[in-house]
């Protein structure tokens, strides 16, 4: 039989409690966590050395919206302006190494398919691929020197999400839920909004809580009347009996508790039923975007069939963030294979593929930035815009051709962030002249995760969870905060 997890929660015991208090979380869920943790930490102290007391850092943000581009966005076509690449269009890549791509075809260098221009006050270079996002350039901070360990989709996506290339590790959202608890009493801490064309490869493993307790796993919100699975009784009969059944359960449990059998597990279970009942109200209320103004709906592109699907999800993300959901993850792109592709995996033709994908998300993402900004939400919210890896500056074609497609590039690519605690309108790091490899401040996903955690006020080396012999971290044994982009 299973018991409670004694050792695990102890590592964070007090610090989490402080964070929880710091955020002024009230309500039953938070109390339950504190109850269980204080009990468990005492149990654990005896047999294992207690780690040092973590020091909470000053948090800049409380929540994040993560836009995750499945398949690999071409940085040289979007946020990484490389004039030298344009100049050397049609020339060969001069190198004595074999580039570690996926398909192994090394064509000639290829210039971007979109024109770059300086944007806003900051003059940040953004290409015409994202004309709407370009107009919000002063709000974003671009990291141009990302690198990845894997040029293979699913390991790369797992890596970006969880710091490891394998199934079974908790994702960023789960770690934040674990580390900070939930700001909301009646919504999950980690919500996932997958692309309507399908979940990413690896499916639910991408938002699994791994070895962290199940409460930290991502909860998928669907469209429709029942956004969360099993939110309502499946039949009309069940729905009409629901109130009385809940009353019955509560009475039975109360009598059980009064009989002397009560303990914190029972109290937590009783609270969970109260919370479930509240979720039945709060989830549909949050998911109902009809109440938004026409102006807002237009802003997010809900009237444009090309981007309405992503627009709805961006708007829902803002509503979830407003209600205290800790981490909201949106996927742009479904499964990798297939034709035409339903992701950013532009092996065949960047212009066609990225062109079509960008139209789906450009306006909604820009709207999310602008809307959060004008509402002040961006002050304590982080918006993350990432992908699996970049694409090669050379074409994926025969050696004497600058074909229209690009292969995977793990050596250098871009992502951006926006929100509290960041210097906006700046870039960080750089790739080489042609945009192949990160050369200035090369950064890893561990660095990115360390930076995100830092913005949440967490020292990434101290957010740990014991699992099978190791105090696991989101950043494994690596990670350097990108200090230069912190405000």
């Amino acid at each position: 039989m299973s018991g409670n997890e004694p050792a695990n929660a102890a590592n964070l015991g007090l610090s989490r409690r402080q964070w929880l208090t710091h955020w002024g979380i009230q309500g039953l869920a938070a109390t339950a966590i504190i109850d269980l943790m204080s009990r468990d930490s005492r149990a654990a102290d005896r047999s294992r050395p207690a780690p040092e007391e973590p020091h909470p850092l000053l948090p800049k943000v409380k929540r994040a919206i993560h836009i995750n581009l499945v398949g690999g966005l071409s940085h040289v076509d979007s946020f990484d302006y490389r004039p030298e690449l344009i100049a050397r269009h049609g020339k060969s890549l001069v190198t004595d190494e074999t580039p570690d791509t996926f398909n192994g075809k090394i064509g000639l260098l290829r210039k971007p398919d979109w024109r770059f221009a300086p944007r806003g006050q900051s003059g940040l270079m953004v290409s015409e691929l994202f004309p709407h996002i370009a107009r919000q350039a002063d709000l974003i901070t671009v990291v141009r020197s990302m690198t990845s360990e894997s040029a293979n989709h699913t390991p790369a996506l797992f890596y970006a999400n969880s710091g490891f290339q394998f199934n079974g590790f908790p994702s960023l959202g789960s770690w934040l839920s674990f580390g900070l608890g939930n700001e909301s009493d009646d919504l999950p801490a980690f919500v996932v909004l997958p692309d309507q064309r399908g979940g990413p490869n690896g499916g639910a493993s991408n938002w699994s809580s791994g070895f962290l307790p199940a409460e930290h796993q991502g909860v998928v919100f669907h469209g429709g009347a029942e956004p969360v699975r099993e939110l309502f009784a499946p039949t009309p009969e069940g729905r009409s009996a629901e109130g009385e059944i809940l009353g019955f359960i509560d009475s039975v449990n109360r009598r059980h508790a009064a009989s002397g059998a009560g303990d914190s597990l029972l109290e937590a279970r009783m609270r969970s039923y109260a919370l479930a009942a509240r979720m039945q109200l709060s989830v549909p209320e949050t998911a109902a975007i009809d109440g938004e103004t026409d102006e807002t709906r237009e802003l997010y592109g809900l009237n444009d069939p090309r981007c309405a699907e992503f627009g709805r999800r961006c708007l829902l993300a803002r509503r979830l963030a407003e209600r205290g959901v800790r981490f909201i993850q949106l996927f742009s792109g479904g499964p990798i294979a297939g034709s035409p592709r339903a992701s950013w995996d532009a092996h065949e033709n960047v212009s066609q593929n990225h062109g079509a994908e960008a139209v789906r998300i450009d306006k909604p993402v820009a709207a999310l930035l602008a809307d959060c900004h004008r509402r002040g939400l961006l002050d304590d919210t982080l918006i993350l815009f990432t992908t699996e890896f970049g694409r090669t500056p050379f074409a994926q074609s025969e050696g004497n051709v600058a074909g229209p497609g690009r292969d995977h590039n793990r050596y250098g690519f871009s992502l951006w962030m926006a929100g509290g605690g960041l210097k906006p309108g700046v870039t960080y790091g750089s790739t080489d002249d042609i945009g192949w490899k990160a050369v200035e401040k090369p950064s890893t996903w561990h660095d990115f995760h360390a930076t995100v955690l830092r913005l949440f006020g967490i020292d990434h080396t101290r957010l740990t969870y014991y699992h099978n012999g190791i105090e696991r971290r989101l950043t494994n044994v690596h990670g350097e905060v990108m200090r230069d982009i912190l405000a």
Partner: protein, 1005 residues
């Protein structure tokens, strides 16, 4: 700083002088001092300053290396501490970093250097001793298992369960008052869920309440241990440990429908109480030691983890994927059987446990023959049956042949030929050879040429299977879409790969052919270059072509669809491929040869009595009509006429018998063969080399397969780096299960304890290393480990010992006084209550509702929809009352990321990594799942239906029945009244659903 050093040194001298130990002169003191210094180096320095990655290049394991020093020069000057870098850094508190040496140790170091710095003869092993930050070879879990237990002899209560002797001692030491025994209902509930994963029947609870004696309890324990449900329950615990899942994970996450034999093997092994050492050996090397299905099934342990099937083309990615795979396997193996995280030593020596990186590579060398794969086995029953049918078939055929020979003797075969059917009914061939008169094409002008000894005899082309074949001139026509047909007899049903008719490029590089027995024995296939257009028709095995001519036809249709016919009837099922691209005006047809060059298994041995080629795809009806014309042999009617009535009757009877046998044989042959996902051994793996810092491109020295020094049994297996897989894995299995390995028995008895009490004696069942827990009752752990060895590694006696202890039987009631010192109950003053696992909740509902399907074993039931979507696979939960879906959860098809809200929210692991213990969470989503899940609501309704069908006298009895089925107790008057109200408003199902959601249902006392 220098002055400080001087002061310290002068202190040393003063001390030394004061005690009369002058280092330079004190030869007698040398060994003592050297011993102390060695201990100091081992405890304080050597973890960083030894091995391939010694910090600063300084290796302190030998005197020579230390003298040579690191990048800052020699570490010491003999007999002169003042000039020794080592002393300077230590005296300045720079070394060891962050934790400077206490003064007394500093003095020892200085004195020792001044005395000449004697080193031990052997290099100092950095792992020799445990330190404040890491475990060494002397770590508690590497010490031998004790074999003498004075505690047992000293006990004041004779006949007491030894478990209690150890537990009570700790309780007394900690001043804790143990709870009394549990109430009978609570105890039986606990025992039943613990041993069988199911609730006790109300009748069993009542019987035990009536007679709660120890003898009665023992009888119940023995019944449950002997129940098949025990194996189902405890197999689940083991499946968690071995990260058993039924899809590949990663990008594709394809379902694995053939790994379930492993799960069945585990259940059976546990039910049969297979000795645990054998249980382990079978999983590590079962496929080698027990070839056959059982060994293969057991070996799936090694390949049950996630497995990346999409790797990319680069060599780096392939190597990396392989190294990742090996790490995954050795990590699971080390944790499962040794309680050690061996995988942490892949990039560097283990930071906390005494495992060097080199040892890691020795361990993965031991499993480098392991590859993932699916193995196909002969169905043994079917084999016996088939042999019997074949021999009867042969004997009947021989009798028919004897009769026919007599008839043939009475008239020449050629004359007895039946007239051809009318030509207008038959398709017009592009080329056709009847071999009645010679090699001429009777439809066109592709007159053939006899090659390599081919001859025409009695209206048939005779092929010797060695060199004989028949070829046409180069074709003028491009035969993309086409049909080949032949009436053919084989000399030998076991020949492999001969071509009957082939269209090939003139160099033989591209071809489409009718082939026999090439990829599949005794089957007709469409052969092609590199099997590029070849797939199994899944047709029946050929049994007749040796005794009579059969008609075989293959159609290559547009869009690459290939279909086959035998005797005019469809042969298996068509498949789709990509049409061939033949060179223009550079092809010819061949008979008797698969493709050029002639020779080898490409040659067909037998007779072709007629062959035809069509430049279009014949329709099924055309093929049937064409097949109906006979070749070469006397028709049955004519035979009958010549045989006379009695022999003709006999002949007809024999032919009917033969037909019946053939049909039955076809059925037996078509019976599916068992497929088992298992180790596909690479018999001769390459030599393993260390990857320095885990870097795939950095190769270090070759390593031989070997064990870990830390564990008592000899880590040197006497193997060389090029040892075959068989030696590697059998030695690994022997080493792990060796009686000298203390970890092996300790780890498994701790797992049993963990599941019986909710927390192990060591609370980290997979990790007995430095980062793991320390045993709460170390002597008890050793006692149980020793007991396991004494019991011949059988686990049931250990289970029995544990569940019959007072510690196990204690009530779970709270006690604030005890909680103040031991809230977690680690000293077992109470039995901790436990939340049921998701599987137990589901199984209990099925049992209570009376809808459980008790069928054991076989492929898992699938309660998810499996949707392949462009290279990945989605799994969505479904619920139905299909009988299959009412089986126990251990038989559930369990893909990774395969969602089941009930199991997910109740903390069932996703089997991506080994899960030695389950989390226990309490969330609103859990409440929603138990309230609204299709399954739980259906179970509530089924339970109500079951009770209503029992025709109890009234509502009160129905409600009492619901309470006793679900909670194994009667409601009190208030509860009965609450239940009655709910029943009256909404029906009995609402009461059942409410009770399934009650805390008392999901938490076992």
């Amino acid at each position: 700083m220098a002055s400080l050093r001087l002061i310290l040194k002068s202190v040393v001298y003063i001390v030394v002088l004061a005690f009369g130990m002058v280092p330079a002169a004190g030869q007698d003191q040398g060994p003592v001092l050297a011993g102390k210094a060695e201990s100091l180096i081992v405890a304080r320095c050597i973890r960083c300053h030894a091995g391939d990655e010694a910090k600063g290049g300084l290796d302190l394991s030998t005197r020579i290396a230390a003298l040579k020093g690191g990048k800052n020069g020699p570490s010491f000057a003999p007999a002169n501490s003042e000039d020794s870098l080592m002393w300077q850094r230590v005296a300045d508190d720079e070394m060891p970093p962050k934790s400077p040496l206490p003064d007394d140790e500093k003095r020892i170091l200085a004195a020792w250097i001044d005395s000449g710095a004697a080193w031990p003869d052997q290099p100092i092993d950095p792992f020799r001793r445990s330190t404040a930050r890491s475990a060494g070879y002397d770590w508690w879990s590497f010490r031998p298992v004790r074999s003498v237990f004075p505690e047992i002899a000293d006990t004041k209560t004779p006949g007491a369960n030894p478990v209690d002797t150890f537990v009570d001692r700790e309780l007394a030491r900690n001043d804790l008052k143990p709870n009394p025994r549990s109430r009978p209902r609570d105890l039986i509930r606990r025992l039943s869920f613990d041993l069988t994963g199911l609730p006790p029947s109300p009748e069993l609870v009542r019987a035990f309440e009536a007679d709660p004696s120890q003898a009665h309890y023992l009888r119940i324990v023995d019944t449950m241990l002997a129940s098949p449900r025990f194996g189902e329950r405890w197999a689940r615990h083991w499946l968690d440990v071995v990260r058993y899942g039924e899809s590949t994970g990663f990008e594709r996450n394809e379902p694995n429908f053939t790994i379930w034999p492993y799960r069945d093997w585990v259940i059976k092994a546990i039910n049969d109480d297979m000795p645990f050492d054998r249980f382990a050996r079978m999983q590590i090397a079962g496929d080698l030691e027990n070839p056959g299905q059982e060994g293969a099934a057991a070996s799936a342990f090694l390949v049950a983890g996630v497995h990346n099937t999409v790797i990319g083309v680069s060599r780096r990615m392939r190597l990396l994927a392989r190294q990742d795979e090996l790490e995954e396997t050795i990590g699971t193996l080390g944790q499962a059987f040794l309680g050690l995280t061996v995988q942490c030593a892949r990039c560097h020596d283990h930071k906390f446990d005494p495992i060097s990186s080199r040892e890691y590579y020795g361990m993965i060398a031991a499993i480098d023959g392991v590859q993932h794969g699916e193995r196909v086995f002969e169905n043994l029953d079917a084999q016996v049956r088939r042999a019997d049918l074949e021999s009867r078939f042969e004997s009947v055929s021989a009798r028919i042949a004897a009769l026919e020979a007599r008839a043939r003797a009475s008239a020449p075969v050629a004359e007895s030929r039946r007239p051809e059917p009318k030509r207008k009914d038959l398709p017009v061939p592009y080329a056709m050879w009847s071999f009645d008169n010679g090699p001429e094409d009777e439809a066109g002008n592709l007159h053939g040429q006899l090659v390599g000894g081919a001859r025409i005899e009695s209206g048939a082309l005779v092929l010797d299977g060695v060199s004989a074949w028949f070829r046409t001139p180069t074709l003028k026509k491009y035969l993309g879409i086409k049909t080949f047909e032949a009436w053919v007899m084989t000399d030998d049903l076991d020949q492999r790969g001969g071509g009957v008719i082939s269209l090939q490029s003139n160099d033989g590089g591209i071809f489409d052919a009718i082939v026999f027995g090439e990829q599949e024995t005794r089957r007709w296939m469409a052969g092609s270059d590199g099997f590029s257009r070849t797939a199994s028709f899944r047709g029946q095995e050929e049994t007749e072509a040796k005794t009579r001519p059969v008609h075989v036809a293959i159609v290559w249709d547009k869009d690459g669809v290939v279909s086959a016919y035998r005797d005019g009837m469809p042969y298996g099922t068509p498949y789709k491929t990509v049409p061939a691209k033949f060179p223009l005006n550079d092809t010819h047809l061949a008979i008797g040869l698969r493709h050029l060059p002639a020779g080898g298994n490409r040659m067909f041995r037998g007779r072709v009595l007629r062959a035809a080629v069509y430049d279009r795809a014949l329709k099924p009806a055309e093929i049937e009509r064409s097949a109906a014309r006979e070749s070469g042999f006397v028709s049955p009617e004519e035979l009958a006429a010549r045989l006379g009535p009695e022999a003709a009757r006999q002949h007809g009877e024999l032919r009917r018998q033969r037909q019946g046998l053939a049909e039955e044989l076809a059925r037996v042959v078509a019976a599916p063969k068992p497929k088992i996902y298992a180790v596909q051994a690479n018999a001769q793996p390459e030599k393993m080399r260390v990857h320095v810092r885990g870097d795939i491109n950095e190769f270090g020295p070759e390593v031989a397969p070997a064990g870990l020094k830390a564990l008592g049994a000899s880590s040197d297996w006497g193997l060389t780096p090029d040892a075959p897989d068989r030696d590697r894995r059998t030695r690994l299995a022997a080493w792990i299960t060796s009686k000298d390995n203390p970890a092996f028995p300790r780890v498994i008895v701790n797992r049993l304890w963990h599941h019986h009490f909710g927390t192990g004696i060591v609370e980290t069942p997979n990790d007995f290393g430095f980062n793991g827990g320390r045993p709460s009752h170390p002597e008890l752990l050793d006692f149980l480990a020793r007991k396991l060895i004494d019991e011949g590694y059988r686990l049931k006696p250990i289970h029995r010992l544990i569940v019959t202890s007072e510690a196990y039987m204690r009530s779970s009631d709270p006690n604030p006084v005890n909680s103040a010192t031991d809230a977690a109950g680690r000293f077992l003053w109470r039995h901790a209550p436990s939340r049921l696992e998701g599987e137990a909740i589901r199984d209990a509902m099925l049992a209570i509702s009376g809808t459980a399907n008790p069928a054991m074993g076989g492929p898992g039931f699938v309660d998810v929809s499996v949707t392949p979507n462009n290279g990945t696979t989605y799994y969505e939960p479904i619920d139905s009352d299909d009988q299959e879906l009412q089986r126990r959860t251990v038989y559930r098809f369990s893909p990774r990321g395969g969602r089941s809200t009930l199991l997910d929210t109740f903390d069932c692991p996703d089997s991506a990594t080994t899960s030695p213990r389950r989390n226990v969470t309490t969330t609103p989503l859990q409440a929603l799942s138990l309230l609204h899940g299709d399954f739980t609501v259906r179970m509530a309704r089924e339970t109500a239906r079951r009770i209503e069908a029992e025709r109890l006298p009234g509502v009160e009895e129905q409600l009492a029945r619901a309470w006793s089925l679900i909670l194994q107790r009667s409601p009190d008057s208030v509860e009965a009244e609450m239940s009655r109200k709910l029943l009256e408003r909404h029906g009995l199902w609402a009461v059942c659903l409410g009770l399934f959601n009650a805390n008392e249902f999901v938490v076992v006392p």
